[in-house]
Protein backbone atom coordinates (compact mmCIF):
# COMPACT_ATOMS: atom_id res chain seq x y z
CA UNK A 1 0.00 0.00 0.00
CA UNK A 2 1.19 3.50 -0.84
CA UNK A 3 2.51 5.47 2.12
CA UNK A 4 0.83 8.72 3.16
CA UNK A 5 2.73 12.01 3.24
CA UNK A 6 3.08 12.04 7.08
CA UNK A 7 4.35 8.43 6.98
CA UNK A 8 6.89 9.31 4.30
CA UNK A 9 8.03 12.40 6.21
CA UNK A 10 8.39 10.33 9.39
CA UNK A 11 10.55 7.78 7.54
CA UNK A 12 12.57 10.55 5.92
CA UNK A 13 13.27 12.16 9.30
CA UNK A 14 14.36 8.74 10.59
CA UNK A 15 16.97 8.55 7.84
CA UNK A 16 15.09 6.62 5.15
CA UNK A 17 16.43 8.12 1.94
CA UNK A 18 13.96 6.25 -0.26
CA UNK A 19 11.21 8.17 1.53
CA UNK A 20 12.88 11.43 0.52
CA UNK A 21 13.02 10.28 -3.10
CA UNK A 22 9.29 9.50 -2.91
CA UNK A 23 8.56 12.95 -1.43
CA UNK A 24 10.45 14.51 -4.35
CA UNK A 25 8.21 12.58 -6.73
CA UNK A 26 5.04 13.65 -4.95
CA UNK A 27 5.84 17.36 -4.65
CA UNK A 28 8.02 18.18 -7.69
CA UNK A 29 5.12 19.04 -10.04
CA UNK A 30 3.32 21.15 -7.45
CA UNK A 31 6.45 23.18 -6.71
CA UNK A 32 7.22 23.56 -10.41
CA UNK A 33 3.71 24.77 -11.13
CA UNK A 34 3.80 27.41 -8.38
CA UNK A 35 7.29 28.55 -9.36
CA UNK A 36 6.38 28.76 -13.03
CA UNK A 37 3.34 30.89 -12.31
CA UNK A 38 5.38 33.27 -10.20
CA UNK A 39 8.44 33.50 -12.43
CA UNK A 40 6.94 32.73 -15.88
CA UNK A 41 9.92 30.86 -17.21
CA UNK A 42 11.06 27.26 -17.19
CA UNK A 43 14.68 27.76 -16.16
CA UNK A 44 13.79 29.73 -13.04
CA UNK A 45 11.02 27.29 -12.13
CA UNK A 46 13.52 24.45 -12.53
CA UNK A 47 15.96 26.25 -10.22
CA UNK A 48 13.23 26.77 -7.61
CA UNK A 49 12.32 23.06 -7.62
CA UNK A 50 15.91 21.90 -7.25
CA UNK A 51 16.82 24.41 -4.55
CA UNK A 52 13.61 23.73 -2.65
CA UNK A 53 14.34 20.02 -2.29
CA UNK A 54 18.02 20.57 -1.49
CA UNK A 55 17.02 23.04 1.24
CA UNK A 56 14.28 20.79 2.59
CA UNK A 57 16.82 17.95 2.79
CA UNK A 58 19.40 20.08 4.56
CA UNK A 59 16.90 21.78 6.89
CA UNK A 60 14.94 18.65 7.79
CA UNK A 61 15.84 19.03 11.48
CA UNK A 62 13.80 22.27 11.53
CA UNK A 63 10.60 20.39 10.74
CA UNK A 64 8.99 19.93 14.15
CA UNK A 65 5.77 18.20 13.14
CA UNK A 66 5.28 15.87 10.16
CA UNK A 67 1.73 17.21 9.79
CA UNK A 68 3.10 20.53 8.56
CA UNK A 69 5.39 19.20 5.85
CA UNK A 70 3.31 20.73 3.04
CA UNK A 71 3.45 24.17 4.64
CA UNK A 72 7.16 23.67 5.31
CA UNK A 73 8.02 22.81 1.71
CA UNK A 74 5.71 25.53 0.35
CA UNK A 75 7.41 28.10 2.58
CA UNK A 76 10.85 27.07 1.35
CA UNK A 77 9.66 27.15 -2.28
CA UNK A 78 7.80 30.48 -2.10
CA UNK A 79 10.64 32.17 -0.22
CA UNK A 80 13.13 31.04 -2.86
CA UNK A 81 10.77 32.07 -5.67
CA UNK A 82 10.36 35.55 -4.14
CA UNK A 83 14.14 35.91 -3.74
CA UNK A 84 14.62 34.93 -7.36
CA UNK A 85 11.85 37.28 -8.47
CA UNK A 86 13.53 40.20 -6.68
CA UNK A 87 16.85 39.31 -8.27
CA UNK A 88 15.37 38.98 -11.74
CA UNK A 89 13.40 42.20 -11.39
CA UNK A 90 16.68 44.05 -11.12
CA UNK A 91 18.04 42.25 -14.16
CA UNK A 92 15.28 42.36 -16.77
CA UNK A 93 11.58 42.47 -17.31
CA UNK A 94 9.99 39.12 -16.63
CA UNK A 95 8.36 37.61 -19.64
CA UNK A 96 6.77 34.26 -20.16
CA UNK A 97 8.87 31.93 -22.24
CA UNK A 98 7.31 30.10 -25.10
CA UNK A 99 10.46 29.45 -27.06
CA UNK A 100 14.09 28.45 -26.73
CA UNK A 101 13.26 25.36 -24.69
CA UNK A 102 13.72 21.72 -25.60
CA UNK A 103 10.75 20.21 -27.38
CA UNK A 104 9.35 18.32 -24.42
CA UNK A 105 9.31 21.39 -22.21
CA UNK A 106 7.83 23.76 -24.78
CA UNK A 107 5.28 25.91 -23.04
CA UNK A 108 2.65 27.58 -25.10
CA UNK A 109 0.51 30.30 -23.58
CA UNK A 110 -2.33 29.52 -25.94
CA UNK A 111 -2.64 26.06 -24.39
CA UNK A 112 -2.89 27.29 -20.84
CA UNK A 113 -6.62 27.87 -20.99
CA UNK A 114 -8.13 24.68 -22.20
CA UNK A 115 -11.60 25.97 -23.04
CA UNK A 116 -12.50 24.61 -26.45
CA UNK A 117 -14.34 27.70 -27.61
CA UNK A 118 -12.97 31.17 -27.96
CA UNK A 119 -9.37 30.14 -27.40
CA UNK A 120 -7.89 33.36 -28.70
CA UNK A 121 -10.10 35.43 -26.46
CA UNK A 122 -9.13 33.35 -23.47
CA UNK A 123 -5.48 33.57 -24.39
CA UNK A 124 -5.65 37.37 -24.37
CA UNK A 125 -7.60 37.34 -21.15
CA UNK A 126 -5.10 35.04 -19.48
CA UNK A 127 -2.22 37.21 -20.68
CA UNK A 128 -3.87 40.16 -19.03
CA UNK A 129 -4.51 38.21 -15.86
CA UNK A 130 -0.90 37.06 -15.74
CA UNK A 131 0.23 40.66 -16.22
CA UNK A 132 -2.13 41.71 -13.44
CA UNK A 133 -0.63 39.00 -11.24
CA UNK A 134 2.79 40.53 -11.79
CA UNK A 135 1.57 43.88 -10.53
CA UNK A 136 0.36 42.41 -7.25
CA UNK A 137 2.61 42.45 -4.18
CA UNK A 138 4.43 39.12 -3.72
CA UNK A 139 2.31 37.83 -0.86
CA UNK A 140 -1.00 38.65 -2.59
CA UNK A 141 0.20 37.09 -5.81
CA UNK A 142 1.35 33.92 -4.08
CA UNK A 143 -1.82 33.74 -2.02
CA UNK A 144 -3.95 33.87 -5.17
CA UNK A 145 -1.75 31.33 -6.95
CA UNK A 146 -1.69 28.92 -4.01
CA UNK A 147 -5.41 29.20 -3.28
CA UNK A 148 -7.15 29.72 -6.59
CA UNK A 149 -4.78 27.95 -8.95
CA UNK A 150 -3.13 25.27 -6.81
CA UNK A 151 -6.09 24.69 -4.52
CA UNK A 152 -4.41 24.98 -1.12
CA UNK A 153 -6.61 25.87 1.84
CA UNK A 154 -6.42 29.20 3.61
CA UNK A 155 -5.15 27.43 6.74
CA UNK A 156 -2.29 25.84 4.79
CA UNK A 157 -1.37 29.19 3.23
CA UNK A 158 -1.50 30.89 6.64
CA UNK A 159 0.87 28.23 7.99
CA UNK A 160 3.13 28.69 4.96
CA UNK A 161 3.44 32.44 5.37
CA UNK A 162 3.30 32.23 9.15
CA UNK A 163 0.43 34.71 9.37
CA UNK A 164 -3.20 34.65 10.58
CA UNK A 165 -5.88 33.23 8.29
CA UNK A 166 -7.51 36.67 8.27
CA UNK A 167 -4.43 38.03 6.47
CA UNK A 168 -4.75 35.29 3.86
CA UNK A 169 -8.44 36.17 3.36
CA UNK A 170 -7.59 39.83 3.03
CA UNK A 171 -4.73 39.18 0.55
CA UNK A 172 -6.95 36.91 -1.49
CA UNK A 173 -9.77 39.46 -1.50
CA UNK A 174 -7.47 42.25 -2.75
CA UNK A 175 -5.91 40.01 -5.40
CA UNK A 176 -9.30 38.87 -6.69
CA UNK A 177 -10.62 42.41 -6.70
CA UNK A 178 -7.77 43.50 -8.94
CA UNK A 179 -8.16 40.54 -11.26
CA UNK A 180 -11.92 41.02 -11.43
CA UNK A 181 -11.40 44.61 -12.45
CA UNK A 182 -9.57 43.37 -15.52
CA UNK A 183 -12.25 40.79 -16.16
CA UNK A 184 -14.92 43.46 -15.86
CA UNK A 185 -13.22 45.66 -18.44
CA UNK A 186 -12.77 42.73 -20.78
CA UNK A 187 -16.34 41.58 -20.46
CA UNK A 188 -17.57 45.13 -21.06
CA UNK A 189 -15.50 45.34 -24.25
CA UNK A 190 -16.98 42.07 -25.38
CA UNK A 191 -20.58 43.22 -24.89
Amino acid sequence: MEKTIPELVESFLNGDEKAFAELVKRYRKKIYSIAYQVLHNHLDADEVVQETFVRVYNKRQELKDVKYFTSFILRVATNYAIDLLRKRKGQKKITSDTAALPGYIQLDLSQRVATPSDNLENKRLMEEILRAFDELPYKQRLTAILHDIEGYSKAEIAKTFNCPEATVRSNLHIARKKLKKILKQRLKQKE
Partner: protein, 188 residues
Protein backbone atom coordinates in the same frame (compact mmCIF):
# COMPACT_ATOMS: atom_id res chain seq x y z
CA UNK B 1 -28.22 42.10 4.41
CA UNK B 2 -26.48 45.18 3.00
CA UNK B 3 -24.57 45.10 -0.30
CA UNK B 4 -21.35 46.05 1.53
CA UNK B 5 -21.64 43.07 3.86
CA UNK B 6 -22.65 40.80 1.00
CA UNK B 7 -19.54 41.75 -0.98
CA UNK B 8 -17.40 40.99 2.05
CA UNK B 9 -18.84 37.49 2.25
CA UNK B 10 -18.65 36.85 -1.46
CA UNK B 11 -15.15 35.31 -1.49
CA UNK B 12 -16.01 32.82 1.23
CA UNK B 13 -19.29 32.05 -0.52
CA UNK B 14 -17.48 31.22 -3.75
CA UNK B 15 -14.94 29.15 -1.79
CA UNK B 16 -17.83 27.34 -0.08
CA UNK B 17 -16.58 28.33 3.34
CA UNK B 18 -19.59 30.17 4.75
CA UNK B 19 -21.65 29.00 7.71
CA UNK B 20 -25.09 27.67 6.63
CA UNK B 21 -26.92 30.62 8.16
CA UNK B 22 -24.77 33.26 6.39
CA UNK B 23 -24.88 31.25 3.22
CA UNK B 24 -28.68 31.27 3.13
CA UNK B 25 -28.80 34.99 3.88
CA UNK B 26 -26.33 35.79 1.11
CA UNK B 27 -28.10 33.52 -1.34
CA UNK B 28 -31.30 35.40 -0.73
CA UNK B 29 -29.52 38.75 -1.16
CA UNK B 30 -28.01 37.66 -4.47
CA UNK B 31 -31.46 36.73 -5.76
CA UNK B 32 -32.69 40.24 -5.01
CA UNK B 33 -29.62 42.38 -5.87
CA UNK B 34 -28.45 42.36 -9.50
CA UNK B 35 -25.27 44.35 -8.80
CA UNK B 36 -24.06 41.88 -6.13
CA UNK B 37 -25.12 38.99 -8.34
CA UNK B 38 -22.96 40.33 -11.15
CA UNK B 39 -20.01 40.61 -8.78
CA UNK B 40 -20.62 37.03 -7.61
CA UNK B 41 -20.67 35.80 -11.22
CA UNK B 42 -17.40 37.59 -11.96
CA UNK B 43 -15.76 36.07 -8.86
CA UNK B 44 -17.02 32.63 -9.84
CA UNK B 45 -15.81 33.10 -13.43
CA UNK B 46 -12.38 34.22 -12.27
CA UNK B 47 -12.09 31.24 -9.96
CA UNK B 48 -13.07 28.89 -12.78
CA UNK B 49 -10.64 30.58 -15.14
CA UNK B 50 -7.76 30.26 -12.70
CA UNK B 51 -8.58 26.61 -12.16
CA UNK B 52 -7.63 25.93 -15.76
CA UNK B 53 -4.28 24.28 -16.25
CA UNK B 54 -1.87 27.17 -16.53
CA UNK B 55 1.35 25.23 -16.83
CA UNK B 56 2.05 22.45 -19.24
CA UNK B 57 3.74 19.37 -17.90
CA UNK B 58 7.35 19.39 -19.14
CA UNK B 59 7.21 15.60 -19.60
CA UNK B 60 8.42 12.41 -17.89
CA UNK B 61 11.97 12.67 -19.27
CA UNK B 62 12.35 16.05 -17.65
CA UNK B 63 11.01 14.82 -14.28
CA UNK B 64 13.33 11.82 -14.27
CA UNK B 65 16.33 14.00 -15.03
CA UNK B 66 15.30 16.60 -12.45
CA UNK B 67 14.79 13.92 -9.76
CA UNK B 68 18.22 12.44 -10.49
CA UNK B 69 19.82 15.87 -10.13
CA UNK B 70 18.05 16.48 -6.82
CA UNK B 71 19.05 13.07 -5.45
CA UNK B 72 22.63 13.60 -6.62
CA UNK B 73 22.70 16.92 -4.79
CA UNK B 74 21.23 15.51 -1.58
CA UNK B 75 21.32 11.79 -0.78
CA UNK B 76 24.29 10.83 -2.97
CA UNK B 77 26.37 13.82 -1.90
CA UNK B 78 25.67 13.14 1.75
CA UNK B 79 26.55 9.46 1.48
CA UNK B 80 29.75 10.40 -0.36
CA UNK B 81 30.66 12.74 2.45
CA UNK B 82 29.48 10.12 4.97
CA UNK B 83 27.00 12.45 6.64
CA UNK B 84 25.53 15.87 6.25
CA UNK B 85 26.38 17.24 9.64
CA UNK B 86 24.29 19.76 11.44
CA UNK B 87 25.89 22.71 13.19
CA UNK B 88 25.77 20.98 16.60
CA UNK B 89 27.21 17.75 15.19
CA UNK B 90 30.05 19.67 13.55
CA UNK B 91 30.73 21.54 16.80
CA UNK B 92 30.79 18.23 18.75
CA UNK B 93 33.24 16.75 16.24
CA UNK B 94 35.53 19.78 16.44
CA UNK B 95 35.34 19.71 20.25
CA UNK B 96 36.34 16.02 20.26
CA UNK B 97 39.33 16.66 17.99
CA UNK B 98 40.40 19.60 20.15
CA UNK B 99 40.19 17.51 23.36
CA UNK B 100 42.15 14.69 21.73
CA UNK B 101 44.91 17.07 20.65
CA UNK B 102 45.00 18.61 24.16
CA UNK B 103 45.30 15.16 25.75
CA UNK B 104 48.11 14.11 23.42
CA UNK B 105 49.94 17.42 24.02
CA UNK B 106 49.52 16.92 27.78
CA UNK B 107 50.82 13.36 27.61
CA UNK B 108 53.85 14.55 25.60
CA UNK B 109 54.62 17.21 28.21
CA UNK B 110 54.26 14.68 31.05
CA UNK B 111 56.64 12.26 29.28
CA UNK B 112 59.14 15.03 28.64
CA UNK B 113 59.00 16.35 32.23
CA UNK B 114 59.24 12.86 33.77
CA UNK B 115 62.13 12.03 31.49
CA UNK B 116 64.03 15.16 32.52
CA UNK B 117 63.26 14.59 36.24
CA UNK B 118 64.25 10.94 36.14
CA UNK B 119 67.27 11.73 34.04
CA UNK B 120 68.53 14.41 36.42
CA UNK B 121 67.40 12.76 39.68
CA UNK B 122 70.20 10.25 39.54
CA UNK B 123 72.68 13.04 39.12
CA UNK B 124 71.48 14.59 42.39
CA UNK B 125 71.54 11.27 44.19
CA UNK B 126 75.05 10.62 43.06
CA UNK B 127 77.31 13.40 44.31
CA UNK B 128 80.29 11.83 42.61
CA UNK B 129 78.93 12.87 39.26
CA UNK B 130 78.69 16.47 40.35
CA UNK B 131 82.03 16.22 41.99
CA UNK B 132 83.54 16.03 38.57
CA UNK B 133 81.95 19.34 37.53
CA UNK B 134 82.03 20.05 33.82
CA UNK B 135 84.22 17.06 33.30
CA UNK B 136 81.22 14.74 33.62
CA UNK B 137 79.46 16.28 30.67
CA UNK B 138 81.75 14.82 28.15
CA UNK B 139 79.81 16.02 25.19
CA UNK B 140 80.37 19.64 26.14
CA UNK B 141 83.62 19.22 27.92
CA UNK B 142 86.86 20.46 26.48
CA UNK B 143 88.90 18.55 29.06
CA UNK B 144 89.17 14.78 29.37
CA UNK B 145 87.28 13.36 32.37
CA UNK B 146 88.94 12.76 35.67
CA UNK B 147 89.35 9.02 35.83
CA UNK B 148 89.77 8.99 39.61
CA UNK B 149 86.25 10.34 40.02
CA UNK B 150 84.58 8.03 37.52
CA UNK B 151 85.77 4.95 39.28
CA UNK B 152 83.45 5.79 42.20
CA UNK B 153 80.45 4.69 40.06
CA UNK B 154 80.29 0.94 40.00
CA UNK B 155 79.82 -1.05 36.84
CA UNK B 156 76.36 -2.18 37.98
CA UNK B 157 75.26 1.42 38.53
CA UNK B 158 76.43 2.37 35.09
CA UNK B 159 74.57 -0.53 33.50
CA UNK B 160 71.43 0.48 35.39
CA UNK B 161 71.78 4.03 34.09
CA UNK B 162 72.25 2.83 30.55
CA UNK B 163 69.12 0.68 30.85
CA UNK B 164 67.25 3.69 32.22
CA UNK B 165 68.36 5.75 29.26
CA UNK B 166 67.08 3.19 26.84
CA UNK B 167 63.77 3.00 28.66
CA UNK B 168 63.20 6.73 28.99
CA UNK B 169 64.10 7.66 25.45
CA UNK B 170 65.70 10.72 23.98
CA UNK B 171 65.25 13.34 26.76
CA UNK B 172 66.76 11.01 29.33
CA UNK B 173 69.43 10.07 26.89
CA UNK B 174 70.49 13.71 26.58
CA UNK B 175 70.34 14.16 30.37
CA UNK B 176 72.57 11.18 31.04
CA UNK B 177 74.83 11.46 28.04
CA UNK B 178 77.93 11.88 30.17
CA UNK B 179 77.53 8.47 31.75
CA UNK B 180 78.10 6.82 28.40
CA UNK B 181 81.37 8.57 28.14
CA UNK B 182 82.28 7.45 31.67
CA UNK B 183 81.10 3.93 30.90
CA UNK B 184 83.38 3.76 27.89
CA UNK B 185 86.30 5.26 29.74
CA UNK B 186 85.85 2.95 32.70
CA UNK B 187 86.71 0.03 30.49
CA UNK B 188 90.13 1.47 29.66
Amino acid sequence: MTCRFALLLLDDYVDNELAPKEREALKKHLEDCSSCRQEWERTKYLKELLKQKLVNDPGEDYWKEMTNIILARTIETSSRESVTLSFTEKAAMQRGAFIRSLVSAGVSVIILVSAIILGTAQKKSDPTIYAGGNRLFAAASLKPPDKTVTTIITKKEQINQAQGMLLMGAPTFIGRFSTIFEFINSGE
